[in-house]
Amino acid sequence: MHAGIIFFLVILGSVLFHIFTPWYWTDIASNWGSMDDTITLTFWIGGGVFVAVCLFMVYCVFKFSYKEERKAEYKPEDKKLERILTWATTLGVAALLAPGLVVWNQYVNVPKNALEIDVMAWQWGWQYRLPGEDGKLGTTKIVNINDNNPFGIILEDPYGKDDIMIQSDVINLKNNRPVKILLRSVDVLHNWYVPQFRAKMDAVPGVVTYYWFEPNKVGEYEVLCAEYCGVGHYAMRGGVKVQSEQDYEIWLQEQETFSELIAKQKKIELNETKLAKK
């Protein structure tokens, strides 16, 4: 009896905890509200099944606890009941799966107008590159990376010259403009994850992975690394500033392009050689 009551309280407690929890997801700041919706749906269906099964169990505990004089029912199987349960479950599972697949389809198909951003990860930090006026990112190679070429851009590639380099772990994004995050890593696995955007994907050395989202709330957010990448994993943070169009343009103007960087480097080298000659 006591056992039944405690189990009942556990179920009740779980439901109450879910209703009154102060811990729940952060306010969404991207277009992936559909992911929240699928979670909510799964909660309703799944939670319903959990509560139903457990309450049934508790009922059995109350009703059928051991009595010397009673004999249990002898019923090896019930074809009809089993069939009904199988189909009901299949239906429930399909109801969960279908929306999940629809959202995934949106997730893997990037809208045409998405702004491509090269997110480069290393142990343990981030930096970003935006396409210049030509709207295209230059191709890169890890072996090209050095102080003068922090992204390893192939110098012969004409698209690379006007790329905008942001050698900071904070990136600014334009509000309501979809972005395609192109992830790459120079050493181990990483994952560029902003909880408020919901979306995430691993950065894998050797390949470029991607995902997309559309920020829709102006503000500052923290970037977390969500794939274990060694001892500094927990400290590998970054930032995102979602800005209105005007603010974003102002910020963009202040950023340096690759050719500007090369010019600056050359100037420094020239000065150094002059100094050496003197």
Partner: protein
């Protein structure tokens, strides 16, 4: 399975039928069971202490050896989890712990619990002890190989523990051992640690293969007279199917470990692309890190079911015995076990939705993953339908069973979140995942292990465990564990990523501090509660109530040995002859509320019993 035998002696369960009564001789061949096909097994009997207890070939002793060694490593895993929770809940009290230590503890805790504790305990421990007894064999079919299996496991554990003492310490690359970080500087234990881990895993796989061959052939080829596959207790079905999975899944782990070791030792680039570290390009190039993930999870996902299926089987038997009722839908249960086992080979990449693999795989693996939910749900329904109209003994064993149902359903439902590809995206790599898999493959199987210990302790030792201590043990463990993992899901919703040594003060994460402290306290309590069991075992061995033969009035063969505890060879002079399935409880018309598997039909004439 639908084919009837010509002689009509073995018929599949279809409809209830009254066994023809009438004393003596009217149906002379009613009890007929075909003679034995193979001659009795030739056994090596140990003579000295060493051959009887150390290098022993008796499956029962080997089972106990497995059980003890797995429990020992499990306690190490438990202590590691305490240290992790100390860091997460009370970082100021864990000043001695660096991030390196933390990640090493995380890794070793995971690996120990999944492979060296749960797998070894269920298959090596329960498998060895129960399979021969439950199918009516004298021993495993290759006793010598079985002994070598245990000692390989022993060496594997030694190598694993040795890695704590090598320079750099054990590997800290997470239990998934993902390259490139597993073998690169910047990850703790990337030198000797990871090498020893790989060696230990290879030894484990080799040892396990020897054991697994034994379990499979014993079930397939060494059953006693009358024991058809569809009369076996579900425990045997669970362990058998899990072993099949292990035989086919462990090869991937073996290959992955071997290739990673070569990457580390010889400088091959199986998993290593071009890498830039500290401004220098390493001498690797052209390999694929995702290949390792595929190999790992091709092992890793069946591994989940290698732990879960024996648990499913055992819990079915415990529920049935203690609610004095047949397991509901036995054949459905068998097919569900087999079906889940088969499907488990087609779902592995649901661990990799955000790994950077081709995103189009997501559709396929989400579908297969959610299909698995159907047979699993059927099993849950059948457990609770077994309770329905039963006569439930509310003893410690049953409490563990009920605890299992609650935690397993909870963990199973959260599995549907994570299996459903786009729902997984926001939740993967957060605390939601940790809460999910601890609930479903940590706590739920633990509930089964504990139930099984309380259930079979009288068989192994001849004494009951103390019920009073058992109830204390159960309630602290169940309530404690539930309050660790249920709230932890909500940390995942906030977005707290897993494997974080420190949270810092991210604005939305500060609210998690209080919860982390609470969870840590609960974890300390639950860990400590496990020592109640150890105390209970020691106390009961000394002063426990003597159990006698078949103390739970069960039907299956392990309780029907001529001596309790069973001796080497199990059955004395004559092997048992089986006439029915293991679930004839509360049969209408029968005197007792149970009819053992060896009871001849003529002895229970006039009962309305299912033909099996």
């Amino acid at each position: 399975m639908t084919e009837d035998f010509k002689d009509n002696k073995v018929i599949h369960a279809q409809s209830s039928e009254t066994i023809p009564g009438g004393a003596g001789g009217s149906v002379p061949d009613l009890d007929y069971v075909r003679p034995a096909e193979v001659s009795d097994q030739d056994l090596y009997h140990g003579h000295s202490f060493i051959t009887k207890w150390v290098f022993c070939q008796d499956a029962k002793v080997i089972g106990i050896q497995y059980f003890c060694l797995a429990t020992f490593t499990g306690i190490i895993g438990l202590i590691l989890s305490w240290l992790m929770r100390l860091q997460l809940g009370f970082p100021e009290a864990a000043g001695f712990m660096t991030a390196e230590h933390y990640y090493q503890f995380v890794t070793m805790h995971g690996m120990i619990m999944v492979v060296y504790f749960l797998t070894a305990l269920f298959l090596g421990g329960f498998g060895n002890y129960l399979i021969p007894l439950m199918v009516g064999a004298r021993d495993m079919v290759f006793p010598y190989l079985n002994m070598v299996s245990f000692w390989s496991f022993f060496v594997a554990v030694l190598v694993l523990l040795a890695s704590f003492f090598v320079p750099g310490g054990p590997t800290g690359s997470g239990w998934t051992l993902y390259p490139p970080q597993a073998i690169l500087e910047g990850t703790p234990g990337s030198g000797m640690g990871i090498i020893l881990m790989c060696v230990s895993l290879i030894l484990f796989v080799a040892g396990f293969t020897m054991g697994g061959l034994n379990y499979l052939i014993t079930v397939l080829q060494a059953r006693t007279r009358g024991m058809t596959l569809m009369r076996m207790p579900l425990t045997v079905w669970g362990i058998f199917t899990a072993t099949v999975l292990a035989m086919l899944a462990f090869p991937a782990l073996l290959v992955g470990s071997l290739m990673m070791m070569l990457d580390k030792l010889l400088g091959t680039s199986f998993f290593m692309p071009t890498i830039l570290k500290a401004g220098e390009v390493l001498e690797y190039g052209g390999g694929s890190p995702i290949l390792f993930q595929h190999l790992f999870w091709f092992f890793g996902h069946p591994e989940v079911y290698i732990v879960a299926l024996p648990a499913f089987g055992i819990i079915s038997d415990l529920i049935s015995v203690h609610s004095r009722k047949n397991i509901f839908g036995y054949r459905m249960m068998v097919w569900a076990i087999v079906g889940i086992g088969a499907l488990s080979f087609f779902v592995w990449a649901h661990h990799m939705y955000v790994s950077g693999m081709n995103p189009w795989f997501g559709f396929f693996f989400a579908t297969t993953t959610l299909i698995i939910a159907v047979p699993t749900a059927m099993k849950v329904y059948n457990w609770i339908l077994t309770l329905w109209r039963g006569n439930i003994r509310m003893n410690t064993v049953m409490l563990w069973c009920l605890g299992f149902i609650v935690t397993f359903v909870n963990g199973g439902i959260t599995g549907i979140f994570l299996g459903n590809v786009s729902v997984d995206v926001p939740l993967s790599d957060t605390y939601f995942v940790i809460a999910h898999f601890h609930m479903v493959m940590g706590i739920a199987p633990l509930m089964v292990i504990m139930g099984a210990v309380y259930h079979w302790f009288p068989l192994v030792t001849g004494k009951f465990l103390s019920e009073k201590l058992g109830k204390w043990h159960f309630w602290t463990t169940f309530l404690g564990a539930y309050s660790i993992y249920f709230p932890m899901h909500y940390l995942g919703f906030i977005g707290v990523p897993r494997r974080y040594f420190e949270m810092y003060d991210s604005p939305y994460m500060t609210s998690a501090v209080g919860m982390n402290e609470f969870i840590s306290l609960a974890a300390f309590l639950v860990g400590a509660a496990q020592f109640i069991l150890i105390f209970n075992i020691i106390k009961s061995l000394k002063t426990g109530k003597v159990a006698g033969k078949n103390p739970w009035q069960a039907n299956s063969l392990e309780w029907l040995t001529p001596t309790v505890p069973p001796e080497h060879g199990n059955w004395g002079d004559r092997l048992p002859v089986v006439h029915r399935w293991a679930y004839d409880y509360s049969v209408p018309g029968a005197k007792e509320d149970f009819i053992t598997q060896t009871t001849a039909p003529s002895e229970v004439a006039d009962t309305k019993v299912e033909k099996t």
